[in-house]
Symmetry: C2
Subunit: 383 residues, 2 copies
Amino acid sequence: MVGAGQLARMTHQAAVALGQSLHVLANSLDEPAALVSPNTSLGSHTDLEALRAFGKSVDVLTFDHEHVPGEHLRTLVAEGIRVHPAPEALVHAQNKLLMRERLADLGVPPFTEVLSVDDAVKFGNEHGWPCVLKSISGGYDGRGVWMLDDPAAAETTVAELLEAGTPLMVEQKVSMRRELAVMVARSPFGQGGTWPVVETVQVNGICVEVLAPAPGLDPDRADAIQDLALRIADRIGLTGVMAVELFDTDDGVVINELATRPHNSGHWTIEGARTSQFEQHLRAVLDYPLGATDQLAPVVVMANVLGAPASPAMGPDERLHHLFARFRDAHVHNYGKQERPGRKIGHVTMLGTDLDDVRRRASLAAHWLSRGEWADGYDIHGG
Amino acid sequence: MVGAGQLARMTHQAAVALGQSLHVLANSLDEPAALVSPNTSLGSHTDLEALRAFGKSVDVLTFDHEHVPGEHLRTLVAEGIRVHPAPEALVHAQNKLLMRERLADLGVPPFTEVLSVDDAVKFGNEHGWPCVLKSISGGYDGRGVWMLDDPAAAETTVAELLEAGTPLMVEQKVSMRRELAVMVARSPFGQGGTWPVVETVQVNGICVEVLAPAPGLDPDRADAIQDLALRIADRIGLTGVMAVELFDTDDGVVINELATRPHNSGHWTIEGARTSQFEQHLRAVLDYPLGATDQLAPVVVMANVLGAPASPAMGPDERLHHLFARFRDAHVHNYGKQERPGRKIGHVTMLGTDLDDVRRRASLAAHWLSRGEWADGYDIHGG
């Protein structure tokens, strides 16, 4: 796996059960997956030589992120290295414009490429203000996205970004009720499978909570969304798992982004589904038959643990002690990362039957692990 | 963790979630845990220098097996190394005679030490033939146990073993209905917790199946057994997890053996319980509060995959493919070991509601992974 972040770390855990040991290409030995896998190669994901040497040392090459240059991957494939997902599939997660062009008939918001300030202004005047300017490649967690409120904002922002060489597109701002996501897997053989559709809750462009299944989602609509994900997987020739991020609107869902790898919106599957996204990704890239994706409790909530704005008084180990004392059934995943404000350093998953209760407990747990403060004023000394 | 077998391998998987990376003391780099942990030290568990160096490099020393000499552990403790379980607890898994002396009032079969042939003959004449001769230390998976059918057998066998320097004891052969086991955890703080009581099915002294919960066990009796396990844990000062193996007889249960570590009879907890024995062991030795031990399905069956008597025609990878094609919900754990006849090379866990069905599927899956043959004649080509 190219990249040694938390996705590679959790993929290694799944690999162990299958009798494998994940090899990772890391930038440094203190990255989350490098800390737990004995098979770490050091090198950059943008360095063709490093990719080639790593690719030759493994059975199949796969990815923790979308940032490996497509031309490098095409070179490796031409040299006989097995790459899953293939560069032709991965490009749909790398290039937001290309993805929209390829999936236009499946439901994406109106969009156009922006090669000049005029392109953006004309689009805004036609489709309404504000509209959403996006970097065609490279953005994540809210980066690479700018809201254009009016033609004046468009002129300033677009001019600056084009000047800096950023490839741009603009998209209609969708009037949405909420964000949904669905994970899908597809093997080289062509077998596909999805998990239940989830709701993702974002704050400042960063996912903070995932609710599985998406509350109140009509079953027919959920089926249609799973079918959509399978069709996208088939059309782009996906191998591995992919997140399809969607906007839920009054007129149905529209596609927001694709991520052709394990994804934050699928972390709940580790304890919440019969087969986790990490095991399924391995099964797909190794061309094993896929595993069952049944949800294991009526409600599963995953809450991200984000680095606190200010360093908590209590150390991470002590916070974990108190968390376990309060919540005996919390599933904690600590990524082994240094704490920095807003950084995803872990997550907590809770299972249960009542959405409000499970969501409250997951949120309290994640807030506590982040800050060492109970959001509901609970006193750890029992006073 | 001293030892790098499958128990250390699965403990490493649990450690990753807690933000840890398990350090293992291995005899060689191809042992199951050494294959998946980046923190492997090479050295023998009987070498005091290797143990000392390893112990000084970690926060807490714990064990994959019972074979570290007690005097070495006492030395390490005297030198300030934290050891969990402490040598005073571990000795109850190392010394079968001492264990029975300490737990006599809690229910063990009649027993006595054997220092001469006469000791065994006298015991057999008093308590009935056949009786069971055991090596006081070092046995596992049926090794170190001999059935003495009559005084003549006792004379031959005991004389030979005493001659070879084997410390011996003899025990009444219990007329049992089945074997039961219960896993218990205890932290240095003194918090204790157990999982449901299970039935273990042995063939030729090797555990082949674990049924959770033990079918048809009276709830009051199950409570009493869990209480017994907690009392034993408390009495011996356990830190970590422990398996209490029991004989179920018409007159109640009697204690068979203790294992003061994660144990084969607890593998079902990985997917079958809210907290697995491996995470719980880590929580206990790190003195975290213990996790919930609720069982997650009405029936959980774990079946061991044993190396086949003859090498299967189909390779392990191809066998895994076909297994996943037939059983989408099988949880497979492959230990990364070379296949040898009778060797535990992995296990399969299945969850469900109907005992006969779940047991049949787990057994078929394990038999297939072992031999590449379906015990029910299923045709992988669909013919």
